[in-house]
């Protein structure tokens, strides 16, 4: 049992791909500017900083995807949390933001676990309701209030050169890894993703597990919202929209099965890094947005083709 075999194949491929992105980018900068900007600690730290928001969102998304569900309410959970935090301000704002996460997670979980509405459509409805609530609250305009001190601390400030959002990402990651690998809850999540009926017949309280996963997902979304609001120094209407599909892509690129039951947390981190680095390197290479999108899509398909080919060989 070598270490290599303990690491998932998708994670290895993903790590290799990160190296490839950086290498291609470095060859490019060396030939055009004569510098290896992509290998500088500053640049890499900056990428981690930007990547943290996606990383935290994707971490939450992974919790529900592991169950074979999906959470389409992430964009407006994130935005609503951040907007309420800035609107109310101070510590109470932050508490409200966490409260939003808890509430949304509970509602989603109850709808999916107890009513057994497909998560796809239930969370879509919740997303629309949140959007509606925020539009009502702000009168359709961007809120004026700026990010609170706490948000700035989380999203913008650094200690010893390390952005706090990266630390938050690390803490969220440690917590989730702990949950997934050390607690019964984590074990039950994989079990439900694989075979819900068998988990139920094993005496697992499956509905509570589903609710817990949705709560974790929404909490991650609002934490990302707090940090992102701090990073941009304000909260705005559509701030979460850019995180929905990339967070799903990050989870899947990390080797998690979209149908649930299989995947390692480290993969999601790798997946988020791939997306952030790919976008950044391509934009430094002055690639047009059009090409960046095409390459982004092609990379997802290409990597999944590699994974799925591996699976067929194994089967």
């Amino acid at each position: 049992m070598s270490l290599v075999s303990k690491i998932d194949k998708p994670i290895l491929i993903g790590l290799g791909f990160i190296v490839l992105i950086l290498a291609v980018g470095t060859v490019y900068t060396l030939s055009t500017q004569g510098t290896a900007v992509f290998l500088s600690p500053n640049y890499l730290m900056q990428q981690l900083h930007v990547g943290a928001f996606l990383g935290i969102t994707a971490a939450g998304m992974m919790m529900v995807i592991l169950l074979g569900h999906i959470d389409l309410s992430v964009p407006w959970t994130l935005a609503a949390g951040a907007m309420l935090a800035t609107a109310i301000g101070g510590p109470l704002g932050a508490l409200t933001c966490i409260g939003v996460g808890l509430t949304v997670g509970l509602v989603n979980g109850l709808g999916v676990a107890f009513l057994r509405v497909p998560s796809m459509i239930f969370t879509l409805g919740v997303n629309t309701v949140l959007l509606g609530l925020m539009v009502m609250l702000t009168g359709g305009h961007a809120p004026q209030s700026a990010a609170t001190d706490l948000m700035l601390f989380l999203g913008r400030d650094r200690t010893l050169g390390i952005p706090h959002s990266v630390i938050v990402w690390a803490l969220v990651s440690l917590t989730l890894v702990f949950v997934l690998t050390r607690t019964p809850l984590g074990r039950y999540m994989y079990a439900i993703g694989n075979q819900e009926a068998a988990a139920y017949l094993s005496g697992v309280r499956t509905r509570l597990v589903i609710v817990a996963a949705f709560v974790m997902c929404s909490l991650c979304a609002v934490i990302a919202g707090l940090a992102l609001g701090g990073y941009s120094a304000r909260a705005y209407q559509a701030m979460g929209d850019a995180y929905l599909l990339p967070s799903i892509a990050a989870v899947v690129l990390g080797g998690t099965n979209i149908l649930g039951g299989q995947g390692r947390y480290a993969g999601t981190v790798v997946g988020a890094l791939i997306i952030v680095l790919l976008q950044s390197v391509l934009s430094v290479m002055q690639m047009e947005e059009a090409f960046r999108q095409v390459i982004y899509g092609a990379v997802i398909i290409g990597m999944l083709l590699i994974y799925s080919r591996g699976r067929i060989v194994n089967a």
């Binding site: 607690t183 074990r187 994989y190 079990a191 075979q195 094993s202 005496g203 309280r205």
Partner: protein, 520 residues
């Protein structure tokens, strides 16, 4: 008798298979099998679960491909890459698992492969309905409206639709894999009549069944399979029932079951149920299982036995009646409460692949899935205690596994079942409900399971054992409750626990010598 027969009559064809082998991940499902079925005859394929019958059928119908061997149809060599190709050659199969699409109408289902078309090439709905009506009439089911959605039909009606669908595909060889298991009495008669008629029309019929009397009534020729090998082919009447059973199970059957302990006084009851009712499957069922006792649950398939186990385990909603454990009335509303220490119940479910195991997860994770709450300290899984328990269980159950983290899907059926049982033993359950636990596993493992059950009983467990296998009821159980139409119609024990009595009471006949079961 394998070759040299007369030319196939119109419509039928001889099927000859030679040297067929097939293995799944190292397990030999079929090894070097020769088999032939002739036009104008009904050929019963017999064997225990796991004997290779299903694999044989799957190969003939193109669902799987053999590793080695040749097959010929009407004298021409054939090889089918898919069910579609087999179909085109006139091989039509009625599977145990239904091949109906629940959201489509009966007519749509019957015509799915080759619907009648209008001149424009579109499906002709009216012609399709007439076709369906004609086929349904042929199987004596005029009462089924072709416009009905299959989802809305009861299981026995669906089975008749399945047979009508097969007839609509102009079979030369018709294969029935346990096709009558879901049928009710009057439908069974209809199906027999159709099958005889089809045989007289010159079709070749392959028939798989576990029911001896069905074989007697239907088959012209029988082939017995055991452990993936073809044992013998003979004409009906060449062997007595006992001899056939002997062929099916091999020689050393009598020693398979551990001896039953002699009992001087009735055991103290552990699990008692009174008046369990869950219409229409359960009607006023009362039973009790004592400490150290293995109580068998028998009868034909689908008489409420499964529902009884699910009702006891808290899966069914709205069950009337009372359940007490050790004399204390309890309410069990979910498997989670059933496994709690106060109740200590375990259920080995019917289908281990979808209800017992998480196939892609590791052996270790599967073994501790039910007992995890007791291996947790301060919300964290106590990994060293867990590893120790797993090791203990693997040793006790003799689970053959090299890597405890390997997906449980990579294990053989027998070892998989051992994992399911280990999962529940780890909870320290005192009441063990088993739903047909030996289905599709090898004879060796079966024997281990029988011994395990007996030793668990000796340690004080109360065991309720549902099986479709008469020999298990006779060999393994102290008492047997026979179910018929949601009721317990007989209780058999001691001298009265014989195959004839089981069969007679399963059909709810009055066998005279058996006293009507006064359920304690």
């Amino acid at each position: 008798m394998l070759d040299g027969g007369p030319a196939a009559p119109v419509g039928g064809a001889d099927l000859v298979m030679r040297g067929i082998s097939k293995s799944y991940g190292g397990v030999h499902a079929l090894s070097d099998v020769d088999f032939a079925s002739r036009a104008g005859s009904i050929h019963a394929v017999l064997g225990e679960n796991g004997a290779g019958k299903s694999t044989l059928i799957k190969i003939i119908s193109g669902v799987v491909q053999p590793d080695r061997g040749t097959m010929s149809l009407g004298g021409n060599p054939v090889r089918f890459a898919s069910p579609l190709e087999a179909n085109a050659a006139g091989i039509v199969c009625i599977f145990q698992e239904l091949s109906l699409m629940p959201d489509l109408s009966v007519a749509d289902n019957i015509a799915i492969t080759d619907p009648p078309r209008t001149r424009l090439g579109l499906i002709d709905g009216r012609a399709q309905r007439r076709q369906a009506e004609a086929l349904l009439a042929r199987v004596g089911c005029e009462d089924i409206d072709p416009r009905e959605r299959v989802r809305d039909l009861p299981l026995s009606r669906r089975q008749m639709v399945e047979i009508a669908k097969a007839l609509g595909r102009h079979p030369r060889i018709l294969i029935l894999d346990e096709a009558t298991s879901a049928l009710t009495g009057s439908d069974v008669e209809k199906v027999y009549a159709i099958l005889h008629q089809l045989r007289d029309e010159g079709l070749s019929l392959l028939y798989i069944s576990h029911r001896m009397h069905e074989i007697e009534e239907l088959a012209d020729t029988c082939s017995v399979f055991r452990n993936g090998r073809h044992i013998e082919t003979f004409k009906k009447g060449d062997h007595s029932d006992d001899e056939i059973v002997q062929l099916m199970i091999g020689r050393d059957w009598s020693n398979v079951f551990p001896p039953k302990p002699a009992r001087t006084s009735p055991p103290e009851p552990v699990l008692t149920a009174r008046g369990l009712t869950w219409p229409p499957a359960l009607r006023d069922i009362s039973l009790s299982v004592g400490r150290g006792e293995i109580v068998g649950v028998g009868g034909l398939d689908g008489q409420g036995q499964r529902e009884l186990l699910l009702a006891l385990f808290g899966v069914l909603r709205g069950v009337a009646g009372t359940v007490s454990i050790g004399g204390k009335p309890v309410k069990i509303h979910s498997p989670a409460s059933a496994k709690s220490p106060e109740i200590g119940m375990a259920l080995i479910p019917e289908d281990r692949k979808t209800e017992g195991l998480m196939l892609p997860m590791g052996v270790a994770d599967n073994i501790t899935m039910a007992a995890l709450p007791w291996l947790t300290k301060h919300l964290v899984v106590d990994r060293s205690a867990e590893a120790e328990k797993i090791k203990e269980m693997v040793a006790r159950m003799q689970i053959k596994v090299s890597d405890l983290d390997a997906p449980v899907a990579t294990l053989s059926g027998g070892n998989q079942q051992k994992v399911v049982i280990a999962k529940w033993l780890l909870t320290g359950a005192r009441i063990i409900l088993l739903n047909d636990p030996t289905r599709g596993i090898d004879v060796g493992t079966k024997q281990e399971i029988y011994q395990l059950l007996r030793s668990l009983a000796a340690e004080g467990a109360a065991i309720l054992f549902y099986t479709t296998d008469y020999d298990e009821l006779i060999g393994c159980c102290d008492r047997v409750l026979i179910f018929y139409d949601g009721r317990v119609v007989r209780e058999l024990s001691g001298e009265s626990l014989t195959e004839t009595n089981i069969i007679a009471s399963s059909l709810n006949l009055q066998p005279g010598e058996i006293p009507t079961g006064a359920v304690q």
